[in-house]
Point group: C2
Chain length 339, copies 2
Amino acid sequence: MTATSTQIQLVNRPVGWPTADDFRTVTVEYGDLAPGQVRVVNEFVSVDPYMRGRMIDTRSYIPPFALDATMTGGAVGRVVETTVDELPVGTLVSHQYGWRDVVQEDADGFRALPEPPANAASSVYLGVLGMTGLTAYVGLLTIARMQPGDTVFISGAAGAVGTAAGQIAQLKGAKRVIGSAGTPEKVALLTERYGYDAAFDYKDDRSIREQLRDAAPDGIDVYFDNVGGEHLEAALDSFNDGGRAALCGAIAQYNSTTRTPGPSNMANIITRGLTLTGFTIGHYFDQAPAFRGEMGQWFADGKVVHDETVVDGIENSVDAFLGLMRGENVGKMVVRTGS
Amino acid sequence: MTATSTQIQLVNRPVGWPTADDFRTVTVEYGDLAPGQVRVVNEFVSVDPYMRGRMIDTRSYIPPFALDATMTGGAVGRVVETTVDELPVGTLVSHQYGWRDVVQEDADGFRALPEPPANAASSVYLGVLGMTGLTAYVGLLTIARMQPGDTVFISGAAGAVGTAAGQIAQLKGAKRVIGSAGTPEKVALLTERYGYDAAFDYKDDRSIREQLRDAAPDGIDVYFDNVGGEHLEAALDSFNDGGRAALCGAIAQYNSTTRTPGPSNMANIITRGLTLTGFTIGHYFDQAPAFRGEMGQWFADGKVVHDETVVDGIENSVDAFLGLMRGENVGKMVVRTGS
């Protein structure tokens, strides 16, 4: 049986902020399945900040998106036709064939998932029970080596990784968890919904440095960086001796066309004995089983809140991505492909 | 019996480059020993880059020097009068009562040393067999976790720590050791005397970035930073995935009166999964026994070269320190107090 797939391709490498003209929507017709293939109809596809890095052609940990080809990324869908026993029709799967509503590929590229918990849609596997949650878990516990009693600062705290990281920090016994976000509404959510002890607006007239000092009068021990730039500089000034930073993202710079100077207080790294460690989650998949066990239990017990910002329609994926870049999401940004 | 001591005091907190006017030389008369005290005549006193940080009054890992008081720092001397059995007359001791030729204090402040190896003066305990060598050893092996087969880059490589670090890297099985220094003469010594595989002049017209790329065409795994600034930026550009930096010093900035921007390529820390760790040696004295065992053996076996730049006369200590700041030393800079 044939099928039609709507797919999003990159046609220009954006310089500065991406625009709609950098992408195009194409229709792909799939023929009958070849042996070993499955056809999957996606339920949700992910848009993530790291994808901005794949739109340019530079040395990185992951190859750039090819021009005039369909982009890739996390997605969850359901098998609708199959040639393999391991993935019968109806199986929920996660995979990297995002940016499209229907995909037909070798079964190797798909991983079967359990049905989502009763209180969640399958998109939870793109969020708090998926790569996003794993990133928060590994960044906080393995990279920054958070210990019970630590004071933890998380930037971009209302985003997908930040909302998860703040909750994990509390569940793991942090003394105090502080978050920054870019609107007063998000700031309010941090303390009211995501368990942060203190939060501030980084677009406020007062500097990030000053607001962080007020929020953490006894200093910070751990910094989970999703933003970079001025946030990292403020963290270096607030660190206690032996502090540890997990550098996860630098969204402040992703659309910059100039080289951004680093923090002017790098000397604090020496005098306070700090450690800054960058990471990308692809090197830490060995921790996925531990993460799934612990986070799955927390989620089932209602100890972790999962929020998402849903954009409907695969044809609106680029809008969803650009909205993410502008910080229009609370929690995980996903596209519901439902057709 | 009384004694006269010549001592160097700080009288102004320098802004920018220190000058002779920021210091004064005083004469102190000691009376008879009190119970528990010893009197020591110093043989060598140490001048070290970290002392610049103690001349200003800012939060740091070690309190600032008090104004109008004799400064402190590493020194080795010999007991000339004693009231305690543990430190008989003639004992060689190390201690922190530097910046003076004679000291009289409680015995607690002194640690007995074995006589130096036949091929060395007691100043070796301020250099390769002392704090300097320990700094190189800990920075390379514990902080940067150097492994056999790593390519290692060391900045300020002709200084006290750098000459030791390069030799330790080779003895521990580095694949390739690269150093930078500030004069053609020092660059030549790095490869001819200290076992570096490649070296370059960081004051050359060609950028540090470009010279490092040429010296390490396959990238670097470990960076031992004594300089900071442009060196760190170059290292971030040359790092292989998973690279590790030990940040030990930032002499490029010690006399700067403006805030120096950090590296403009901090994003590499994330995409390449790098770790930057700052340290000050005071937190790692637990490793001194292992260091003394291993380094002592290497030195006794003639596997490690120890060079020093000696300035004669305690009254010339400030000149020695200023010369150190200007990079006039090769190896360890010491003052021979001999009177």
